[in-house]
Structures are given as structure tokens and as C-alpha cells.
């Protein structure tokens, strides 16, 4: 909403701009900008066109003679516009004049000297219209300076209006609110004529969607261009000037907040009007030329031939006012906000009128607005009001009750020391009728305030008028046990573990397109979006890897020698996705989310994703040329898992699309897949413009965290520090290549029994000395017993047991 200062001052008297701005923010009128359209315009004066002829050397230019200083004499100007004729009054920026962006001088244009220029509205900052000159009516004196005629360059305050305050979508509405806060009188600057006594066009209302319906019949209308003052105000408010009829309907809407519509009365069949709900299959051509398909629930105004206007949204083309209009039917009505909102939303058609009706207009102001418009049209279009029809209804949506509230309760809520009388005084300033009985307020809000219906609304209004800034800051008492739960603290600890591994954290947009790299527990299940913002963002991510690989690609493209990134976030699958069963098996079903009716929402477990490529650290860092490998990611995940208090996950080699068949494992807990780690398949890396050797991993957290409950993991137990020296034994196990290291190690561990303190794999050997298809794996066993010093016999016994255990796998111990 744009508010020219001079217009506000018509209602408020001469309040300075600074006072207006200072109060607006404090009362919830959000000032977005202060414009000064036409600021800096100097030396522009009115002039009459005396003569024009084509430029001898340019088809698109004219030589124009206009009146000079004081309306006397003749000045020649070269002009590119053609929307004027001899006798028109135009605006002449004389030599020495200033308009935004230039100072004018006598200038030769294609050989002809131009004494200044004739100006378009846009050149003067008075609108966007650049199609021709600003042509004025006969109501202005010749030779007058533009700034003496209209307040060009004055401040125009633009405010944002909250959706519950439709009453602020007008100059008077804002002035009224300011007057209430300033405790100043609101002026009534414009007397309006009484309605003609003759009964006008018959009106029938067959819907409850309308509260008030007013039409006046105007005759002797001459449609012509609007006077300068009116055009200026509209331009300041960003509204395009049409003619002296339409402009007035817009002007009154801006002034009083009541949208109006002007029909050409000679085009209204009957003439009679019927207001009704549309039926299915009907259509209506609206003023913008579009053919609108109507549905039940839309409100239409019929004449005898059918739909003539889409009520509250846009008028109909068939009954439009035009240059030859002689009689006007001026309509002002109050429509059901919900109905207008539905129609406007469905058609994607937002007009100045629908914006106001959606936010509720003052039902008491419709008649006044029509009268004000008729009065203005008497001047702008010679209109003469001859008859009027007024129908008032009180539909349920407009019926409003008095609000009762305990003043002490309001004062407590807003923490302001105001008794009943003080609150009543504030509310009265805002236009309410208030009765006080002890502590009880009975409030009848003013007709324009649809938002005051409950005690809480009154509390806000009292606080607003008294000043939010008078509410003192006080810390609330502790009301409940707060802070992070143990499980939430664990999550933070897990984040630290990944950071300690040298992996940067990223946050990516969780949308994916059609193709994704499947991570843990892959499936085709997608949580699609009904109204995606882009085709490559048509579904929620089923896993974290695509976002991470996108980050890797972006940085690789910028020449990064290498990086590792991770993200914590939810992944999304349909409620019946196989992933659900996998998580359920370990975590129960408590991690699933449901709607209010118990309906399952899509699965959205938390997960951790990792991706890395290139060198780990780079120049200046330790190990500056070591590359990121799958082992790095596995080690990182191992530490995360360790901090959840659980046993290490089992690694199972796997072949999956997009992954390197020999360098990928899925991670199992109790035989259930909870993660994956590996190197991208060279073809996949190539397809994604990623460097060969890029590695990635994903771990579902729900199966690790949910079983812990809010209490988090059990406290770690302190180890017994054995004081007897340990016995260290190295063994080599010759095993088939296909036998996984993890299986061999598990057998060694099992065979070694309770004396084993630590087991490390330190060597792998392949060669012709070994049987075909075998490898030798070196392990270092550290044996100890808290109670005694171990002997060679103990070591021998352990080795014997280890030999037996690996033999069970088809492997052999080599001493």
C-alpha cells in the first residue's frame, strides 16, 4: 500500500513525515520504503500545442510549437510522441529544466533546434507510461510550473499490511489507525452527497455471499481524461490512469478501501441485476479479455442476459465503460472474503479488489464510497446521479458479537499495568464502543475491524495502542527440565567424531531428480513432490549420496585437489519401503512418524553420508599427498559406531549398480543392512563428472540410536590395566583368496580365547610359494592374563587353538 503524504494529511492535518514514520513501525504498519516519485523535477510547465508538422528529416519526429512563458509566445520543440494534437495541453520541460537523469538544454535534433522537450509520465516520475506525452485536460492554467499544480516529489510511504488488517488497505484506514495511536482527531475532509431518492436498477440477491449491495445510476456522463491532480495521485500509488470514470473508482478504493465497479448502464441488459452463485459450465469474459470458466461457489452479477461481472474479482468485458459511455451504473458491494479468496486462488487472478475483499472491507462504508465516487465523477465526467438502489443483508459471516474480557486477565497476558478504565480508553481511541463493569470489559469493535473478535485480540490491541515497547523484559521461571537429552548429546558427539576424521560438514538441498546413486538398503521407492520447483528436484532424497557427490563435483570442477564431506540428515522413502522393515528389525517401530489419524507418514530416518575424492590434506598439512580411500570412510564410520556403544558393524563385500564391484561393502548389524561404503564404479564416476577413485559411504542412524532410547548409551566401562608383561605372537594364516579377511580374523579371535588382548592384521602375501588361489595373512596377537605371567606353554596352547579354528574355514596356520 502506497500512501502519498499529502493524502494522509487530508485526514490527519499537517503531521510531519518523521512523526508518521516513527509511529508506523511501532503500531505494526511495516514501512517498506519511502518513495519520492518525480523528485528533482524543476522547470516543467504547462503549455498548449499551437501547431505541429513532420520533421523534414525524420519520419518518427515532429516539430511542435507550444505556448511559452506565462502561456504567451511560441516555443519550438522536437518531439518523438504522436498522442496529441493542436489545442492539447502538455508538459514542457524548458531549457534549463531538470527531470530525473538530465538537465535540458537547447539541442539540435536531426538539424532542428529543440527548446527543451515535451515530457511523458515516466520521464517525470509520474508513472510507467512511456507511450506518449502526459496530455492534460483543460483544468490547468497555461505556463504554470508543474510543482505549483501537484506535489510531485513528495514522500510516498509504502507499507506492508498484515493479512488480518484489510482496513489498512486505504489512505483513510491508515490515517485512522495513526490518529488512534497519536490520540489525534481524524478529519472528514470530503462531504459526500446524499443518495438520490429515485429507486434505481432493480437488484435481486440470491446468495448469502454478499452483505451490502449499492448501485447508483449516473447520467450525462462524458468520458474524458482525468484531471492532473487525480492522475498524479494514482501515479504515486502505482495505478495506471484510464479515464475520468475508471480512475475515480480506483481513487476511491485507495482512499476509503472500498472497491467499486462502473458498468456502462446502456450495456446492462434489463436493466436489472441479480447476484448469485455461478453454476458449473458457465463462462464469463473479464475485463482483461480472458474467458473465465466458472464453478459453483464463484459469485457473479447477472444482468438480464447472464453473467456481467465476476463479483469482487473483476468486471465483465460486455458491460465495460468505454469512450462513448453516456450512462454509468456505479456499484459498491461487500463480498464474503472466503468466497473471493477461493475464486481468486482458483483462477490465479489477484486484483486490487480481490486483495481487499479477501481481507474484509468495512461493510458500513460501501454506500459512502459510492457517494464519494459519484461526487468526484460529477467533476471528472460531468456525471449526474439520478437514482440509487441499496440492499443490506446480515449474512452469518458478517455477523459479529460483542467481546467480553476481564481487564485483569488482559493486563496480565501483556504484562502492562493497565486497569479496566485505561484499557477502555485505549480501545475507544481505536473506535470501539466499550462498557466497563468492574473488571469486565464489553467491547463492540468498530465496523472496519474484523480482526477484533476474542479477548486475545483485545489484548493485542491494547498493547499495540499503549506501545509494545512499554513491556518490560523478564526472564520466565524454569517450568520444566530442559537441556539436551543424553541421546541428543550423543548425536553431537557423533558429529565431533566425523569432524575429527578430517571430513568437512555440508548442508545440501534434499531434493533429487530421476536418477540417483542407491546407498544403504536401496529401493525404487520415492517420496515424490506434487508441485516440485524443478524437474531435477521432483522427489525427496532417498539417500544422502547425490547431494554429497554434487558437492564433490562442484569443488572438483573448481580445481580442488581433494576433499571429504559429510552430511547429517533425513532420507525419505514411502511408508511401505523395504528400508522400513530393515530398520524395524533393529529399532522397533518407534522411529516411524504418523499423522493425526494414525496414518503412516513417509519413512524419514536420520542418516549420515560421506563422500571423498583426491588427496586428504594437501600442501601445508600433515600427510600432504595421501589420498582419500574407502578405508578412511570405514574408519570414520567405525568410530561413529563405537561411540554409540555398539559392536563394530560386519562388512560384507557386495556388487551393486554404480559401485566398484571389488571395492564395496555393505555394513550389517545382526545380519541386517544398515550402511554401505565403497568406491564409485569408474563408469558411474565418469557419468557424474567425478574423478576416478571417488569414494562414498552411507550409514542409517536410526538402527543405532533408536535402540538406545532417550537415556543414550550405557556408560563405557574402564578396562583392567594388566601389569604382567604381555606375550606377543605373530602368526600367518594361509587361506583361500575368496575367504574374507574379516572371517579369518574372527576365527583367529575365537580360537585365541580370553587371553587375547589385541589382534592386528599387519601383512598380506601372495606368491608362487603358496597354493594356487591362496594368500597368507599375517596377524599379531597380544596375549595377557591379569592374574599371572604367561609362559611359552600358554602361547603354544593359544596357537594350537587358533590353528584349529582357522582349519575350520579351510585355512591353515603357518608357523
Amino acid at each position: 500500500m502506497r500512501l502519498p503524504l499529502s493524502w494522509l494529511q487530508e485526514f490527519l492535518g499537517d503531521v510531519p513525515l518523521e512523526d508518521v514514520l516513527a509511529r508506523m513501525d511501532a503500531i505494526g504498519l511495516e514501512v517498506e520504503a519511502v518513495h519520492r516519485p518525480g523528485d528533482g523535477v524543476r522547470g516543467v510547465r504547462t503549455a498548449r500545442v499551437l501547431h505541429h508538422e513532420p520533421h523534414p528529416d525524420a519520419d518518427s519526429l515532429r516539430l511542435v510549437d507550444v505556448t511559452g512563458d506565462g502561456g504567451e509566445g511560441t516555443v519550438r520543440v522536437v518531439c518523438g510522441a504522436a498522442n496529441f494534437d493542436v489545442g492539447d495541453t502538455v508538459l514542457h520541460a524548458v531549457v534549463g529544466a531538470e527531470i530525473p537523469g538530465m538537465t535540458l538544454e537547447a539541442r539540435r535534433i536531426r538539424g532542428q533546434v529543440s527548446q527543451g522537450m515535451l515530457a511523458s509520465p515516466r520521464e517525470l516520475g509520474l508513472g510507467d507510461d512511456h507511450g506518449g506525452l502526459l496530455v492534460l485536460g483543460d483544468d490547468v492554467p497555461l505556463g504554470a510550473d508543474l510543482t505549483d499544480l501537484v506535489p510531485v516529489g513528495e514522500p510516498v510511504v509504502e507499507i506492508a499490511v498484515h493479512p488480518d488488517r484489510g482496513d489498512l488497505l486505504s489512505v483513510r484506514g491508515v490515517a485512522r489507525d495513526l490518529a488512534a495511536v497519536l490520540d489525534a482527531p481524524l478529519r472528514a475532509p470530503h462531504a459526500v452527497p446524499a443518495a438520490p431518492t429515485a429507486v434505481g436498477v432493480p437488484v435481486e440477491l440470491t446468495t448469502t455471499g454478499v452483505a451490502t449491495f449499492v448501485v447508483w445510476s449516473l447520467e450525462d456522463v462524458v468520458v474524458r481524461r482525468s484531471p492532473l491532480w487525480l492522475r498524479t495521485r494514482l501515479a504515486q500509488c502505482g495505478v495506471r490512469s484510464i479515464d475520468g470514470v475508471v480512475d475515480v473508482t480506483n481513487y476511491v478504493m485507495l482512499e476509503l478501501g472500498q472497491p467499486l465497479h462502473a458498468f456502462d448502464l446502456d450495456r446492462v441488459a434489463g436493466p436489472s441485476l441479480r447476484v448469485r452463485e455461478a453454476t458449473a459450465g458457465e463462462t464469463l469474459a473479464t475485463l482483461d479479455g480472458a474467458e473465465r470458466a466458472l464453478v459453483p461457489g464463484d459469485l457473479v452479477i447477472d444482468d438480464a442476459e447472464g453473467p456481467a461481472s465476476l463479483a469482487g474479482v473483476m468486471g465483465g468485458l460486455r458491460t465495460e465503460v468505454h469512450a462513448g459511455t453516456r450512462r454509468v451504473l456505479l456499484e459498491g458491494a461487500v463480498w464474503d472474503p472466503a468466497a473471493i479468496r477461493r475464486t481468486s486462488r482458483r483462477l490465479g487472478l489477484v486484483s486490487e479488489a480481490s486483495t481487499r475483499f479477501e481481507r474484509r472491507v468495512d461493510p458500513a462504508a460501501a454506500g459512502e464510497a459510492v457517494a464519494r465516487a459519484a461526487d468526484l465523477m460529477a467533476a471528472t465526467a460531468d456525471a449526474r446521479a439520478v437514482a440509487a438502489t441499496v440492499v443490506d443483508r446480515a449474512p452469518a459471516w458478517e455477523r459479529r458479537e460483542d467481546v467480553t474480557a476481564r481487564a485483569s486477565a488482559l493486563a496480565r497476558l501483556i504484562a502492562l499495568d493497565l486497569d479496566a478504565e485505561a484499557q477502555a480508553a485505549l480501545l475507544r481511541r481505536g473506535g470501539s464502543d466499550v462498557a466497563v463493569a468492574g473488571d469486565v470489559l464489553t467491547v463492540r469493535p468498530p465496523s472496519w475491524r474484523g480482526d477484533l473478535g476474542r479477548p486475545a485480540d483485545l489484548a493485542e490491541e491494547v498493547a499495540r495502542l499503549h506501545g509494545y515497547d512499554r513491556i518490560a523484559p523478564v526472564l520466565p521461571p524454569l517450568v520444566a527440565r530442559g537441556g539436551r537429552s543424553p541421546l541428543q548429546r550423543l548425536e553431537r558427539d557423533l558429529r565431533a567424531a566425523v569432524l575429527a576424521a578430517g571430513v568437512d560438514e555440508v548442508v545440501t538441498r534434499p531434493f533429487v531428480g530421476a536418477t540417483t546413486l542407491a546407498g544403504a538398503v536401496p529401493s525404487d521407492g520415492r517420496v515424490g513432490l506434487a508441485n516440485p520447483l524443478a524437474q531435477d528436484a521432483a522427489a525427496m532424497r532417498p539417500g544422502l549420496l547425490d547431494g554429497l557427490l554434487g558437492v564433490v563435483r562442484r569443488n572438483h570442477g573448481q580445481g580442488s585437489p581433494g576433499l571429504a564431506v559429510h552430511e547429517w540428515g533425513r532420507v525419505f522413502r514411502p511408508a511401505d519401503d523395504p528400508l522400513g522393515g530393515a530398520v524395524d528389525a533393529l529399532a522397533g517401530t518407534g522411529w516411524r512418524w504418523h499423522g493425526p489419524d494414525g496414518a503412516a507418514l513417509p519413512l524419514q530416518p536420520r542418516a549420515l553420508g560421506l563422500a571423498a575424492t583426491g588427496v586428504r590434506a594437501g600442501p601445508g598439512w600433515v600427510d600432504d599427498d595421501a589420498p582419500w580411500t574407502v578405508e578412511d570412510l570405514l574408519a570414520t564410520l567405525d568410530e561413529v559406531v563405537r561411540r554409540t556403544g555398539g559392536a563394530a558393524l560386519d562388512r560384507v563385500p557386495v556388487e551393486r549398480p554404480g559401485w566398484h564391484p571389488g571395492r564395496t561393502v555393505v555394513l550389517h548389524r545382526d545380519g541386517v543392512e544398515v550402511g554401505i561404503a565403497g568406491q564409485l564404479h569408474p563408469a558411474e564416476a565418469d557419468r557424474r563428472d567425478l574423478p576416478d577413485g571417488t569414494v562414498a559411504a552411507e550409514l542409517l542412524l536410526e538402527p543405532l540410536l533408536a535402540p538406545l532410547g532417550e537415556a543414550g548409551p550405557a556408560p563405557a566401562r574402564a578396562p583392567v590395566l594388566v601389569r604382567h608383561p604381555a606375550v606377543v605372537v605373530d602368526v600367518a594364516v594361509v587361506a583361500p583368496v575368496a575367504l574374507a579377511l574379516a572371517e579369518v580374523a574372527a576365527a583367529v579371535r575365537a580360537g585365541a580365547g580370553p587371553l587375547l588382548d589385541d589382534l592386528r592384521w599387519f601383512d598380506e602375501f601372495r606368491g608362487s610359494q603358496l597354493p594356487e588361489g591362496h594368500r597368507s595373512l599375517g596377524f599379531r596377537l597380544r596375549l595377557q592374563d591379569p592374574a599371572r605371567q604367561l609362559t611359552d606353554a600358554d602361547a603354544e596352547a593359544v596357537l594350537g587353538a587358533v590353528g584349529a579354528a582357522v582349519a575350520g574355514l579351510g585355512a591353515a596356520l603357518r608357523r
Binding site: 498493547a463 523478564v474 513432490l529 520447483l533 554434487g550 525419505f572 493425526p596 600432504d624
Partner: protein, 334 residues
């Protein structure tokens, strides 16, 4: 046999002292020791021969030779100490490092700016007694809208503003973390104090100031006699913790469907201006009622903080896309 010729003793002394002095390293010194103090050295032979002398001569010669041995032993020891000192000094000189240059570091990972700011905000409220609550990002429209006093035909529910997963079933990407407040209120009776951090979604195309996904920390406190003074006090504590101890907060009347009274909350800047940071208000009685809480008995306040906004204001981030694109140069800055 007569005594020992003092000239021989003097010669042995000369030769021994000269050999020790000439030894340039530990090996040469050892060689010299064996040659001059060893069992087969001339001194040793002389001492061995003392037994053949008569008692007086033996006493005199023995004293002379013992004196010589002690003198040579001391000379050897001096030389040994000197050589070791020189060796250590040489090693220390060789080991010299220039530590004034850039130190090579282990490369730590860095937490994302949004994570840091979110954690910091949550910590502030955790310190004020708020618990931390979590909820789903794909959410039922009833929790995201209806129970928050946003009726079905409200403009915010249109596809221009809200991203839908399923329009018919009214399943949305939550537009705020307020549904977590709803779930909290439905799950347990007051008094309640929670903050709800998490990702939220709006149907905004990506540009320098808009993102279809962003991060909120919303808060809710419901108890007896909760007032707007408590709201302002809580937010003042937040503003000072996040922006500096001299900051003030300003409440301006505003409108949200789920609060009444409602306020936009500004935080003062160092140069005396105000920055709009968050929205807040007293929980609308309709919301309390919808969530099974008697508004005549309980009151509460709620607030919603945009983590991106705080991060951008506090750290001078100019383009919101930088927060979601993962550029390593950006990540390395925080």
C-alpha cells in the same frame, strides 16, 4: 734391580697426554686409552715389573707410576667429556629447525556454519531451561496448519507457498517447525518448554535471498501466567547471547495465525539501527485448545528464529546459496 728411570716416566706422560689430546673422536680416544692405559700398555708393563724391585725402590717407583696412571686417566676423562660435549653440540646444530615458518597441521573437518549457529541458538535456550524436540520433515497438513489455526482455505496452504507430497492426503513438506510444537503439546501436559530445530520448506525458487529449504529454531513455553514480558525477556537473553551483551530487542505488532498478540522482533545494531530477526507472540488460545490445553488455565509464548538469517546477519553471508552449495572455500571459513 735399580729403580725406574724418571726419564721413561716423563716420556710415557708426554706420549699419553699427546695421544689423548690428539684423539678426534670417541674411537680414536678409545684406541689411545688402550695404547696408554690398557693392560698391555708400557705403563702396565712397568707396573707389572715393580715386583722385581727392592722394597724401597718399589715404593718410590710404585708411587711414581700410580701418579702417572692417575694423571693419564684424568686426562683421558677430560678428553672424553670434551668429545661428548662436542658431539652433542654438533647433533643439536644439525637438528636445528626453523619454527618461525607455517606449522604443518593435521587437517580437521569443519562443522557447517548452519550447524554451528543452530547449536549455539539451541544452547542458549537449553541454558534457559528449554528441552530440545524433533519431528518429521514430511508432515501431516493437520499438524502443520489446522492445529496452528491456519484453516484449509488459508493462502499459506496454496501450492504457491507450500510444497506438497500428496495434496489429496494433505501431506506437506513442513513449512515451519511449529508442528513439532503441536506434537509436543499433544504428547504431554504443560508446563512445557521446548525448542524445535530443523529443516523447513517453502515453494520459493532458489536465488540470493530465497531457498526452498532452510533451517529454523522455534521455541514454545506453556505454563501458568506466562506473559509477554517473559517473551521479551527470553528473546533479549537470546539476542545478547548471539549478538552481544549490549543489544536490545524491540517488539513490533505483527500478525501470525498461531499467536495473538503477535510481534516482529528486532535486535539493535551497533550503529543504533534495528534488524528484523524473528517472529514471536503469545500462543493463540485457538492453538492451545486444538492441542488439548485449556487456555483459561495455561498461557504461553512461541517464537521462530531463522538460522540462515542469523548466520547471514552475524557472519556477513551475502548469498543464501553459499550455505547449501558446499563450496570448499566457503566451508573453510567457519
Amino acid at each position: 734391580m735399580e729403580g725406574i728411570d724418571p726419564a721413561d716416566v716423563a716420556r710415557l706422560r708426554e706420549a699419553g697426554l699427546a695421544a689423548f689430546t690428539a684423539a678426534a673422536d670417541a674411537d680414536a680416544l678409545e684406541e689411545a686409552r688402550v695404547a696408554h692405559l690398557g693392560r698391555k700398555a708400557p705403563l702396565g708393563a712397568l707396573q707389572k715389573g715393580l715386583g722385581a724391585l727392592d722394597a724401597d725402590a718399589r715404593r718410590a717407583a710404585g708411587a711414581l707410576l700410580n701418579e702417572l696412571r692417575a694423571e693419564l686417566t684424568a686426562a683421558h676423562e677430560d678428553r672424553r667429556v670434551a668429545l661428548e660435549g662436542a658431539e652433542l653440540a654438533a647433533r643439536l646444530a644439525a637438528e636445528r629447525l626453523d619454527l618461525t615458518g607455517p606449522a604443518r597441521r593435521p587437517r580437521p573437518g569443519r562443522p557447517h556454519l548452519l550447524t554451528q549457529v543452530e547449536a549455539e541458538i539451541v544452547d542458549v535456550f537449553a541454558g534457559l531451561g528449554f528441552a530440545v524436540a524433533d519431528g518429521p520433515e514430511v508432515e501431516a497438513g493437520r499438524y502443520n496448519f489446522d492445529l496452528l489455526n491456519i484453516p484449509p482455505d488459508h493462502p499459506a496452504r496454496g501450492t504457491m507457498d507450500t510444497i506438497y507430497v500428496d495434496e489429496a492426503a494433505d501431506v506437506v513438506l513442513r513449512t515451519h517447525t511449529s508442528p513439532v510444537q503441536v506434537r509436543t503439546m499433544l504428547a504431554a501436559p504443560p508446563p512445557l518448554a521446548v525448542v524445535c530445530p530443523g529443516r523447513v520448506y517453502r515453494a520459493d525458487a532458489v536465488d540470493a535471498t530465497h531457498s526452498p529449504v532452510f533451517t529454523q529454531v522455534e521455541g514454545l513455553l506453556v505454563a501458568q501466567d506466562v506473559t509477554m514480558a517473559h517473551l521479551r525477556g527470553t528473546l533479549l537473553a537470546f539476542a545478547r547471547a548471539m549478538f552481544g551483551p549490549d543489544r536490545e530487542v524491540r517488539l513490533r505488532p505483527s500478525f501470525f495465525p498461531f499467536t495473538e498478540p503477535s510481534a516482529e522482533v528486532d535486535v539493535s545494531t551497533e550503529d543504533g539501527g534495528w534488524l528484523e530477526v524473528l517472529g514471536a507472540g503469545m500462543v493463540d488460545p485457538a492453538v492451545l485448545t486444538a492441542c488439548g490445553i485449556d487456555p483459561d488455565r495455561w498461557s504461553g509464548f512461541a517464537f521462530g528464529i531463522g538460522v540462515e538469517r542469523v548466520a547471514m546477519l552475524r557472519h556477513g553471508v551475502r548469498d543464501i546459496r553459499d550455505l547449501f552449495d558446499g563450496d570448499a572455500r566457503f566451508l573453510a571459513a567457519f
